[in-house]
Symmetry: C2
């Protein structure tokens, strides 16, 4: 590379007649770029074995996604890469938190192994909150010493520290994890945390946050020293709300992240590229927007080998014809032409390591969904459309034959979480309102964060059939009506991902969602709504295999109001 | 600290009614600051055991000097700290390059030990170019494996890579050092390197440069990804020339450094504080100037525990009454009040480790300064006032009694470099013009970079006496006239530093400079001029113990023109 840089040897490729977005200076330079092997050798006048005539197009550094759970794409890393690379993302910093809750270190190691040899650089943050709490049963528990076993150089630090009360109050286990990653990057996650609590959280060690929802919150977090990741996930879209918080002085400490994006969003809208278009559409100068997607996260994570078109850095390059429209035409990763016009080009087959054997220890026929009737009212989870918080309802149950039953007429359905990791046979059963099924049942293994089997139904028999179908698939999403599987999406990798092409995953996902909606659900995506009903750290009333959880009281609570 | 941050326990100190310079957002915040022990716990409303009423004064993060050779202060680290801390500098990143050339790893370890327990945080970059070349004899040679032995956590990376040709051309030894510090910070030093050579230099690994002299050079280096340190040394003052290169978009990648500052400058003008005043005087917004001296170098070096007034960071704090005038009133280091009104307050006595025994193996009476006469002209070093480059003169020598002699009437003096490290008895003798002594001799052990004894005289006997006096001191600067020592500055630590109070060093330095000037030298500082005449990497004609060096040819050259 040095010989090419100093002009003593021709480059492998020279990009000519391009306009280079210089993220160091926020300038556009009309200068040629020489690549030697996987690296940029220099900018200037160079000879090359091959020439790419950019004909006035813009050359940008490859985009970096500062925080993503690849599992939310439901695709394995190679298929995730096939979705995001043609749209310009060449590096992601991932938190394999979902599969870690199922398979522990084996899950994280699978994600590392399955992301080798891709046109996408996949870095990993060590999942900090496995399990989220002990008010549910996960497939693994990762303490500080377990996390310290993650010595792969692609492991950059500690992932989003969601246990913000633990950080603020100096919980021993949390502090041990922070000590284990002392001097390395620690990502934060502190929704709504401001004032003195924010001071304590920042003092504990996290350096970033991606949970801001208002410009005021983002401003305060920036002031206290947190790097702010602007998030545009499928289920949490904060970018446009937060842009007003950025100023020429503070935006060096901001970056873009997608967090969780499902296949339809990834395939139809894109990822970081979509965020760039949105930000530019709101008036952010394109070159400044590009800095948020390249140099800023590279600096934050200490990834000094990328994030800029500069000598010695990886030749991760993106070509766009129009800097405002920002439609990606071509993508180069480590000097190799990997995508054109929205599709990946050939790439040597990456290793496809075998995933861990499914964590699926369930005897569906022995699961008991019955709720013996008693006097009094019951607590009911109230779904709020398009939000992951719930309401705590108290209603008179519908009783038949001495049992509390689902009553679709009242939009009262049964909900159950069937523990699948340890073979305990444990099941938490409750009632939910707002899902809207008129009959049948839906079930799935995408159930944050423990990812047990969650099932909602109008009918116990269909619930049995749905849980059995999910177990048979080794994980996935299913819709059952009249005892028959109406649609299914197999997710045999951790119960979270499919090895299928992402377009096939998307078709199956559309099919299960359509089937659930055709059973009467008015929700945009009943499965996504269901997936968060087991997340016992988000208010207000949730359910795990241990039963109903009162999140405000941070403890299990009886179905029956005393 | 967490209990204080969340308001559950009173702070040790609360700074009230101050205006906090927020370097993350470039805002001034009217907010109180709570300190717990050595750390900032939080910003906001806090109770404290002690209160400091700032009465509207500004509270700034302690300043960071991004690159300094402490040896140039001629003081040991405790005395250097006493000079810079009252002026607001609480952290320096030092390159102990000078003492490393004398004492090798022992010298670097002495600097680490002698900078413990100070109100100043002293970080060290591993000196990358010891010796500068083999065209002279240093006291040590540090290859990659020797540098790798520097495992002290205060060693942050590899110091200024002055051997830029070695980096550009991929010299094995240079590449080995870069490999040894892979993934860590590598500082650069590439005066005038632009174009393809700059591409190669950056591609090799250095991340910064502090040798820019023009805005054009600074702009190009910023564009190619180097962090630019603006330097204001005693002998190289670039700040005002470079300020025009900074823009709102690129200045996040710039910082201040002093590189080499002698006692009079440190005591009369200051260091980083002086640079802040100069930059503000030229119109840079004070808050932006402060970022260059705090957050920017902290981010560059990955010092995430300082550089901002923010929760969890070190309570290194500076109080100024007027943000434009920027006169430092009070300084706090790690929460402790360490300076007020320009003077340090009491501080527990730091360890004063014994320095290495002097590297002084010279028998002065056996040194032979004679130059037998021959026919022809001689090469003469031509001093250029206030510059470290020299001219290559060719003159007819003055011959008396079969010998070439010094001829003060023609401003032709003898110059000699006496090897002191190995006891070789080697001496390089030549002629110099431009020093201007009318009689006597000056000698010293500050002679970049090998730091042998360098001597310039009008008279061989006085040169003998001067070399003998320097050797007797174990190193230092002396002026001799008529066989008697007229003035001296003892520098027994490496021949570079004195353990005396810095004010005493300054008095002795003034005295030797005055004495040399009273011998007829018109130079501002004849000793500084002399110190660079042995630096065989700076054009054009220099001298080492191996004799005259033609720097352009990068080889020794005869005194006599053939």
């Amino acid at each position: 590379m040095l010989a090419v840089a100093r002009g003593d040897r021709p480059a492998d490729v020279v990009f000519r007649h391009g306009r280079v977005v210089n993220v160091f200076t926020a300038e556009v330079e009309g200068v040629d770029v020489a690549v030697a092997g996987s690296r940029i050798a220099g900018l200037g006048a160079y000879e090359g074995a091959e020439t790419v005539d950019l004909d006035g197009a813009y050359l940008l550094p490859g985009f970096i996604d500062a925080h993503v759970h690849i599992e939310s794409s439901m695709a394995t890393p190679p298929e995730f890469a096939r979705a995001v690379v043609p749209r310009g993302t060449t590096t992601v910093v991932s938190d394999p938190h979902e599969i870690a809750n199922v398979h522990g270190l084996a899950g994280i190691r699978y994600m590392l192994a399955a992301s080798e040899g891709l046109p996408l650089s996949v870095f990993v943050m060590a999942s900090s909150c496995v399990p989220a709490t002990h008010m549910g049963t996960a497939g693994a528990e990762l303490d500080a010493s377990a996390l310290a076993e993650l010595t792969d150089p692609r492991v950059l630090g500690l992932a989003e520290l969601m246990n913000f009360p633990g950080a603020i109050y100096g919980d021993d286990g949390v502090l041990a994890k922070l000590r284990a990653f002392a001097g390395r990057v620690v990502d934060g996650h502190a929704p709504g945390v401001v004032g003195q609590a924010l001071n304590a959280y920042v003092a504990a060690g996290p350096r970033s946050d991606h949970e801001c929802t208002t410009p005021e919150e983002a401003r305060e977090k920036l002031r206290r020293g947190l790097f702010v990741f602007l998030r545009q996930a499928t289920n949490a879209q904060n970018l446009l709300d937060l842009l007003p918080a950025l100023t020429p002085a503070n935006r060096r400490r901001a970056a873009f992240c997608t967090d969780d994006r499902q296949p339809p969003d990834l395939l139809d809208e894109g990822g970081i590229d979509a965020m760039l278009r949105m930000a530019i559409g709101r008036g952010l100068a394109p070159v400044e927007a590009v800095r948020l997607a390249t140099l800023n996260p590279a600096e934050y994570f200490g990834l000094h080998d990328r994030g800029a078109v500069a000598p010695g850095r990886r030749a991760d390059l993106v070509v766009v014809r129009d800097l405002e429209a920002l439609e990606v035409e071509d993508v180069y990763a480590a000097g190799r032409h990997v995508a054109h016009a929205g599709a990946t080009l050939s790439w040597p087959d990456p290793p496809r390591p075998a995933p861990p054997a499914p964590s699926m220890h369930v005897e569906a026929r022995r699961v008991d969904f019955r709720i013996p009737a008693r006097d009094g009212r019951v607590r009911v989870i109230g779904v709020v459309p398009d939000q992951i918080v719930t309401e705590r309802l108290e209603l008179a149950p519908t009783v038949r034959g001495g049992e509390v039953v689902a009553d679709p007429e009242r939009d009262l359905l049964k909900i159950a979480v069937v523990e699948r990791h340890t073979g305990s046979g444990r099941v938490g059963v409750g009632l939910v309102s707002g899902i809207g099924l008129k009959g049948g049942a839906i079930a799935g293994t995408v159930a944050h964060d423990h990812h047990n089997i969650i099932c909602i139904g109008a009918d116990d028999a269909d619930m049995h059939a749905a849980v059995a179908a999910v177990a048979d698939l080794g994980g996935g999403l299913v819709v059952v009506n009249g005892g028959k599987v109406a649609a299914s999406l197999p997710l045999p990798v951790g119960g979270l991902m499919s090895p299928a092409p992402i377009e096939a995953i998307r078709r199956d996902l559309d099919a299960v969602v359509d089937a659930a909606r055709s059973l009467g659900s008015p929700l945009h995506d009943p499965f996504m709504a269901m997936a968060f009903l087991a997340l016992e750290v988000i208010p207000t009333l949730k359910i795990t295999d241990l039963g109903l959880i009162d999140v405000d009281a941070f403890s299990p609570v009886s179905l029956w109001v005393e």
